[in-house]
Symmetry: none
């Protein structure tokens, strides 16, 4: 009976296994993604330099990597640990902060018109030189616009001065200060920049724009980093890091700054400079831009290709102590240090915008590999593509510089994300009306399908015997469509996270589902379970893509069915609150505890109204609680405000009217009686030497009766005028 | 310049990649799981035979495979297609349906006492023989109990007859019919079973119990199958399938039934009978049980080991047409046919309870492999372990037969699932008080942690600059703990889905997190982002395990608040309550206001616990609010109170409003028409002797149109006033 044992078993073969490939800038092709340790993926993403509002270029980078991060984590099941930095020490920040400060100071000094005009003319002259020296056509274009703007503003005020109209002059002066802000600030900075020493000025600006950045990202449903690092918090670590690179002889100090020795590094057998963009080796323009506007003279460096790790701070620049004197970190070193501090000597993914490849990321690689003496500090380098606006490069000079906030006023975050998903993350994306129309149309198509499925889910039983019916050929076919879509979507996601193909596959699946539903709906045989599965699968993919914004819930849900109304749910808690307050208030009155009584009033007057709750204190009766619609309450508040504003304006108008009347009376007094009729040439043609009319407009002698009337008016004016003249004399 | 190209790149090595292994009954060891086609996993699970309430044995099977299905799909990312059958044609169903029907009929016939007593005595005699013939001790034990029960009932009624008390006799007669139900039904069935012919009787019973089964599964948060098949819907397919097996000469017809030729199959070189339990080959007892109570005589079969594919139906048994005459499918064939109809010739996973291994699953394998002429119809066969009750086998005779409904009255579905998760799915699980206590204690530990994290999430900013602080050594260590837990949990899930180790790892992670929080909370430096990440990860794993029941949402969320849970709704109000109390308490302490402090304590200790709210006072930190699960009763009571209060207030408000209106009307009447406009000096400056305005506030004469309007108002008031005066006079 040897056969009465289990037979041999052979493992199945998977006929269509696929592996995720990512486009790696280190090889410029798709490579199979292999994390170094199990399912863990360590990831460092280059964050923003915070000195202005985030624009669509930022959206392109952060949205793209948010999508990739979500797909790696929620679709492929990796444990992604996502670190990002905030660059809050940078030449751009320093300049902007100084300029803002000096401009505000200049305004506060409230200069005479002469002085302002003189300054602006100097600025204009000075700037004419700058424009002349600029070669970049785009930059020149922008500068010329700014120049014209200031020139026009100056011309305007000069014209106003000629009219002598004080009001006009004052308005034009204000306009000049607004229109000339950029150039004036810049000029003030070159003149006075070095006098700005208060550190707060250099930390408040980045803090403000970082806050705005977080708001923008939240509005875009971009997940926050797991760990966020700020340069200002890592200066000691940066100093230590640089020290070690010097010890390793890949960097040297020069005149209080420290530079990376590119030649030394590049000539080491295990190292290689400019791995990402070898073609850019020696691109002095790109390198200079990377060094920043406030760099020291290049003559300090041993070689042109060397770049700063530590910059000596001049007067008017924030500084930290170091073995090389007071200074601040160079741009590239921060990322090497902070990524290393959190992720160690080798990370799986490093990402950033396309324009950061050289010199920023190449320099990062050089620094970190010099520090660790390894050659794989970053295993996969990902760069998101450019963004153009209606086919053009986005720039302030082209007036197509669009902030995230502006975009979100026109489109929802989901529509914008859809537009991004409909394009390859690594290629150029053109933001245009057409792009957005396509996204909106896609959203509509899928949403119609969701609504149809929801209808069936509402109108047919969700569980029990009735919920399950036998599958016919139609259901087997439809299910086959679903399975095929899953396979195609998996293949697309493995292919460098090709979200565009995913969305096209979903569109096809939706259309197949609609055909299935239309075919069977008349017989009432649409299989609920199946179309729900289709819709649930699509919803799952949309969730992976971050298209459905939702609060991440933590822990077990706490009781309560969601459908109960707010009042029923909330009232018990409010009752206990009101009772507690009543008792406290009674005791507090007895012992005259003013602070506590004030607290009771604050709760009633400030805190609860904001929550849509009205407490009404009653004598000899429990406090009445009213749950009013918060929106309604706020609307009422708005209306009340509007009404008050209207009344205020009416009052002002009346006042102005009265003032005008008074002014007219005042003016009337000042007319000498002899001049009273002289201008009325439509009525009178000749006057006597006192100024009384003698002939009417037709050249006839004035009738006596009329003359008498005029004499009365003349005498009245004579009296008014004499009184006025007398009062003037008394005043002197 | 050959070096100015990108250097060679080498893919990283993953030093700790792991693969999912599952315990495969076909080899009795863990095997690496390889699906046959990409990420798709086809799965057939043996469903229930629906003729009675689902018990804990069912829970063991369906809960276990629900957990495995969720882990494969939601953790490992497989596209699982889960098919399950409902056995609604079966000897047990036929007998139970007939017995129920005959018993009801007997009751409806309303027999005289003599007749009932006579019948019951016959039943007793008949059953004595049955007990005698039974050898299985467990079965005998149960039969003896039933015998005694009937015997006692008969004795009771005989005693009642002697008393002559009609009421007593009637009561005892009813008791006899209840206590004797099982034996009486069985006896009626042997006598009259063949007379039951109406088909509805055989379909209503399984339909009822299938409905109950779905309800039980929903209560246990077991996901419904993607495709559910019922035997009654697949009879033609079954006939075709059997026909093909006959054609392949692995089955033969005999006396209107069809049998599978085990010897023929087993002797084929590429086939092997009883792959799962080769030791059971020839176990005639097990085989006979598999054949069912209503089988034909074994003499019809060529060999003892052959089993029925098609059973000829005798009178009193439902039947369907076939080439072999009227009959019905055997038990094993249904699964082969339905799994094949939906999944084709080879599936990745087949699962079922441990007791189905032989003969059911071994016969399925034989049939299907004979049909397809392959030897890998099922690639991985999974069997869930037994369930014992407090150490004993579950059986009706031991009175430890527990239905799912009974369990859910004592414990929540989550607690039961936790108890299952704390044991290996393939080993025996002992359901006992101790088991459940361990599960509840585990739930409490983790929930306390969730509540703590939620407190921090509520009381610290979720986004913006403030939300991110620099990581110290503590955060790096805690994050390392989290990463290690993820690695350990992944390893445990790869190891045959070892949920027990997963839960132990989570317990350890919770304890590490609590240590971290306690260390830092006094300095206010607990890193919100980090502990939220920990809690979110644990929540994610609990979601994977099905521990958090939630509606599967489909499509884009429609508008705001619909799905908000209690916590989201209530917390703003509780926050304001806690803040208020904090401030009051601080002031009260300063001025030593004992009464108010007592009030603060009462709120925390008496009032809020009743509402399921726990306040935890902390020194130098805002009070911690925890929303804990409260008794349903408390909630109902409070809601009712709130509703009554609301109604009362509404009523009162209406009354007050009406009273105010009436008073205003009353006052209006009493104004003499001449006084009507006199007070409106902001509008009018002069009046005639009737009191009619003649000049407006500016001193100009009233326009005629306006005067006309005022006259109308005047006349109306005149009438009102005269009526009022008249009524006053009449009253006097």
């Amino acid at each position: 009976m040897a056969k009465r044992m289990q037979p041999a078993w052979e493992a199945p073969k998977n006929t269509s296994e696929m592996k995720l490939e990512l486009f790696n800038s280190l090889t410029r092709k798709k490579e199979v993604f292999v994390p170094q340790k199990g399912k863990q993926v360590t990831w460092y993403n280059c964050g923003p330099t915070v000195y202005d509002a985030s624009h669509m270029g930022h959206a392109r980078t952060y949205l793209s990597f948010d999508i990739l991060r979500r797909v790696l984590s929620d679709y492929f099941g990796y444990d992604v640990f996502f670190v990002m930095n905030i660059t809050d020490i940078d030449d751009k920040i320093i300049k902007r902060a100084r300029q803002n400060h000096l401009y505000k100071q200049y305004l506060a000094e409230n200069h005479q018109l002469d002085k302002v005009l003189e300054d602006c003319n100097i600025v204009l002259q000075h700037f004419a030189e700058v424009v002349k020296a600029t070669t970049d056509p785009d930059k020149k274009n922008m500068q010329e616009r700014l120049f014209e703007k200031l020139k026009t503003a100056i011309a305007n005020i000069e014209a106003a001065i000629k009219t002598g109209n004080e009001k006009e002059i004052s308005a034009k002066k204000e306009a000049l200060l607004v229109d000339g802000k950029d150039l004036l600030s810049d000029w003030l900075d070159t003149k006075l920049g070095s006098t700005v020493t208060e550190n707060k000025i250099f930390s408040e600006l980045p803090r403000y724009w970082e806050e705005e950045y977080h708001k923008d990202m939240e509005a875009l449903n971009v997940q926050p980093a797991d760990c966020l690092t700020r340069v200002s918090e890592y200066v000691p670590e940066i100093v230590d890091y640089i020290q070690k690179i010097i010890t390793r002889e890949f960097a040297y100090e020069s005149n209080g700054s420290v530079y990376f020795d590119v030649s030394k590094f590049d000539s080491s057998p295990c190292h290689h400079y400019a791995k990402l963009v070898p073609e850019a080796f020696g691109d002095s323009k790109a390198l200079a831009e990377g060094e920043g506007d406030l760099s020291a003279a290049p003559s300090e460096k041993r070689f042109d290709n060397d770049f700063a790790l530590w910059k000596k701070s001049k007067p008017g620049e924030p500084s930290w102590p170091s073995p090389w004197g007071l200074g601040r970190p160079g741009w590239h070193i921060e990322c090497s240090v902070m990524a290393s501090a959190i992720l160690g000597q080798s990370m799986d993914i490093h990402s950033g915008g396309y324009d950061l490849k050289f010199p920023h990321h190449d320099n990062e690689l050089a620094q970190s590999e010099a520090f660790y003496d390894n050659d794989a500090w970053t295993r996969y380098f990902l760069h998101s593509g450019h963004l153009t606006i209606a086919g053009c490069k986005m720039s302030k000079s082209l007036k197509n510089f669009i902030t995230i906030q502006e975009v979100l006023q026109k489109h929802t975050a989901r529509q914008l994300r859809l537009a991004f998903l409909l394009h390859s993350w690594k290629d150029t994306l053109d933001y245009s009306d057409n792009t957005m129309e396509l996204a909106k149309s896609y959203e509509k198509t899928v949403n119609e399908f969701f609504l149809t499925v929801k209808h069936f889910m509402r109108t047919t039983p969700g569980t029990g015997v009735e919920a399950f019916t036998k599958w016919s050929k139609d259901e087997l076919e439809m299910n086959e469509n679903l399975e095929k879509a899953k396979v195609a979507i998996h293949a697309a996601l493995c292919d460098n996270i090709d979200t565009r193909t995913v969305l096209e596959t979903i569109r096809e699946l939706v259309s197949q589902s609609n055909v299935y539903i239309e075919k069977l709906r008349s017989t009432g045989a649409v299989n609920r379970q199946l179309i729900k599965n289709v819709a649930a699968y699509i919803t799952k993919i949309f969730n992976v893509f971050g298209m459905i914004s939702k609060e991440e819930s933590v822990g077990f849900p706490s009781g309560g069915s969601g459908s109960a109304d707010l009042e029923t749910l909330v009232m018990p808690y409010l009752n206990s609150l009101a009772d507690f307050r009543d008792n406290v208030r009674k005791s507090a009155r007895e012992i005259k505890a003013g602070d506590i009584l004030a607290e009771c009033d604050k709760l009633r007057d400030d805190v609860l109204p904001n929550l849509g709750v009205r407490l009404e204190d009653k004598e000899n009766e429990a406090t009445v609680i009213k749950l009013v619609d918060r929106a309604e309450l706020m609307k009422e508040r708005e209306e009340k405000k509007a009404l008050e504003e209207k009344k205020r304006l009416e009052k002002e108008a009346k006042k102005a009217e009265a003032a005008a009347k008074a002014a007219a009376l005042e003016a009337q007094k000042k007319i000498p009686p002899g001049d009273l009729f002289k201008n009325e040439t439509d009525k009178y043609s000749k006057f006597d030497d006192k100024g009384m009319p003698t002939h009417n407009a037709e050249g006839e002698e004035m009738p006596k009766a009329q003359l008498k009337k005029l004499q009365k008016i003349y005498q009245a004016q004579e009296k008014k005028y004499n009184d006025y003249m007398k009062s003037q004399t008394n005043e002197q």
